[in-house]
Amino acid sequence: MDGKADGIDVAEVAKLARLELEPDRIPSLQKEMEAIVGYVNMLAELDTDQIEPTVHAVDRVNIIREDVPGEPCPRELMLRTAPATVDDELVRVPQVLPGEGMA
């Protein structure tokens, strides 16, 4: 690779990342991302066909535990961290489905 990374569609990536970007930030972000992606493209120099990927730094296998009920974190406590709740029982969110909604 020549270390170039032209044409990253920043708006599209932002959509995938669920990030609202200020429009005037897009050109500079594009430049920065292209510089960084251009840099990391150097990995293409290496022949990695026969190499196993490292997923974890330590070799781990799936851990199976006894199916014993534990003490979960109390619901009131977890709900206290939510930005908005209904009757301290549910997380409140804006309308999800289009159309006439509940009040």
Partner: protein, 497 residues
């Protein structure tokens, strides 16, 4: 008030001994730190939050236990400061991000539980780069932390608040987290000791995830012995972290005490010098000079130096920035404005809750990394980036395995430069490249330690050296670091604030 003890240089070991002898109470100890903080914090700003009442309550509880003969252990009453991404029940945990402003942890992290069970007083929440992404603490959404050695300079990052808290003498010790050098580099910049334990040695349960396959919690302390003490305390298996390793630290502090008894020399220890590291352009003259002097000291202790090769070094940074950003983009998807943290007041429907809350809540560096991570994981690019980086990670790990066939430890600088001035590194890629000596260790999963080695001639700032060792060989690291600490020409590292 403290019977002649100076809180600024007071180590965990000395505090523990003082408390046991009854030289001072935990309340007196903590009050001395709080007084010191009232003096230095307006200048240093190491902490994002500090609740003096809560600190004194914990201290008086500790004093009551000790008085009744029920001290929870030798560290009962010793204050320790936690980085703001490590959860403590009922304490704020913002990760220095606006998106977690006002968030209060509903539970304790594994390490907080361990510290509490040992009676430690948790003192303050340390500033950091937002979500641990950065090398200077300049990415904090709330405040810039100054380096106690030079207030116009950065403390390093991302655990810069933890390092500055220890160096400014407002606490005995701190915990940080290290994903690519975030413990070791600020330790070097601030003249303190910092340990990056073997991946899986310390549970990540309750550590807000940045890059799950790289993150590790570790101690930042005023002495090597303190780092061993705290490591013993926080290491060990936890069912709450599926990557937690079986077993515990095996008693590093006791091993170190025995090592000291026997004279703490390094006869027969083979130290590898990776030629690719020392050949790098950009290592400043003053950092090279500190390293040369440290090598002399180590030689005088009986260590033998041997050149080793880590041939894939030039690819480490690229490999790291693919893996770290990919994992970050996935981990930070949870901050969606629904269950916790910031929700945009402007959002009218569910999609705009996601887009606006994240857009308004995350800072520029976090956005940049989420964007990069999303890009390298997006459809059609996975094999070219993430999978390839994981394969290169295997090559990097093999480099280390091969190197350790001919040496016991590897010696390197921690950072190519000493603490730089605010705003000096404005280009993100240049900032990333300053982590060149620390990132490979996170990719290999092995352990490493940064220890103060001297004051660099030109900048007058402290400079550390790094030892790296194979996985689970923390004892080896501590022994070398302790021997060096006893023999280094500069005995004391004390910032004159």
């Amino acid at each position: 008030m403290m019977n002649g003890s100076d809180p600024v240089t007071l180590t965990v070991r000395e505090a523990s001994a003082g408390l046991e002898r009854g030289d001072f109470s935990s309340t007196e100890l903590c009050r001395a730190f709080l007084d010191r903080a009232a003096l230095t914090e307006p200048k240093v700003r190491a902490l994002l939050s500090l609740d003096p009442e809560d600190v004194l309550r914990q201290a008086s509880e500790s004093d009551a236990r000790r008085k009744a003969g029920h001290a929870l252990g030798p560290l009962d009453g010793v204050p320790v400061t936690l980085k703001d991404n490590i959860a403590v029940k009922d304490a704020p945990c913002t990760c220095a991000s606006k998106i977690l402003k006002g968030f209060v942890s509903p539970y304790d992290s594994f390490v907080a539980r361990r510290l509490k069970n040992a009676g430690c007083v948790l003192l303050g929440r340390a500033n950091m780069d937002e979500f641990a992404m950065g090398s200077s603490c300049e990415n904090s959404a709330y405040q810039k932390t100054a380096n106690p050695w030079g207030l116009d300079r950065v403390p390093g990052g991302s655990s810069g608040g933890s390092a500055a808290a220890v160096a400014s003498g407002i606490t005995c010790a701190a915990l940080g987290s290290d994903t690519g050098g975030s413990i070791r580099q600020p330790a070097s910049f601030c003249g303190v000791v910092g340990l990056k334990p073997t991946y899986g040695r310390v549970s990540r349960n309750g550590l807000v995830a940045f890059a799950s396959s790289l993150d590790q919690i570790g101690p930042m302390t005023k002495s090597v012995y303190d780092a061993a003490l705290l490591f013993d305390l926080i290491a060990g298996h936890d069912d709450g972290d599926t990557t937690s390793l079986p077993g515990d630290s095996g008693g590093c502090a006791a091993d170190l005490a025995a090592f000291e008894e026997k004279g703490a020399d390094l006869k027969g220890v083979r130290i590898g010098l990776p030629k690719e590291y020392f050949e790098l352009d950009g290592i400043s003259g003053e950092v090279r000079a500190v390293c040369e002097q440290a090598k002399e000291t180590l030689r005088s202790l009986g260590a033998e130096f041997t050149e080793v090769s880590l041939p894939h070094t030039k690819y480490a940074m690229a490999c790291y920035y693919i893996i770290a950003t990919a994992e970050a983009s996935s981990n930070l998807a949870r901050f969606d404005g629904i269950r916790y943290g910031y929700r945009s007041a402007e959002a009218a429907d569910i999609n705009s809750v996601y887009f606006r809350s994240r857009g308004e809540g995350f800072g520029p560096e976090v956005k940049r990394r989420i964007m990069l991570g999303t890009y390298v994981l997006s459809s059609g690019y996975y094999d070219a980036y993430y999978l390839r980086a994981q394969k290169v990670r295997t090559l990097l790990r093999r480099d280390f395995e091969k190197a350790y066939e001919s040496c016991d430890l590897i010696f390197t600088p921690v950072s190519p430069v000493t603490a730089f001035r605010f705003g000096e590194k404005a280009d993100p890629l240049q900032m990333y490249l300053s982590d060149i000596f620390t990132i490979a260790l996170n990719l290999s999963g092995d352990c490493g330690i940064s220890i103060p080695a001297g004051i660099a001639a030109e900048s007058g700032m402290p400079s550390g050296i790094q030892f790296m060792a194979p996985a689970l060989q923390e004892k080896r690291l501590f022994r070398a670091a302790r021997a060096f600490e006893c023999a280094r020409p500069q005995k004391e590292f004390r910032a004159s604030l």
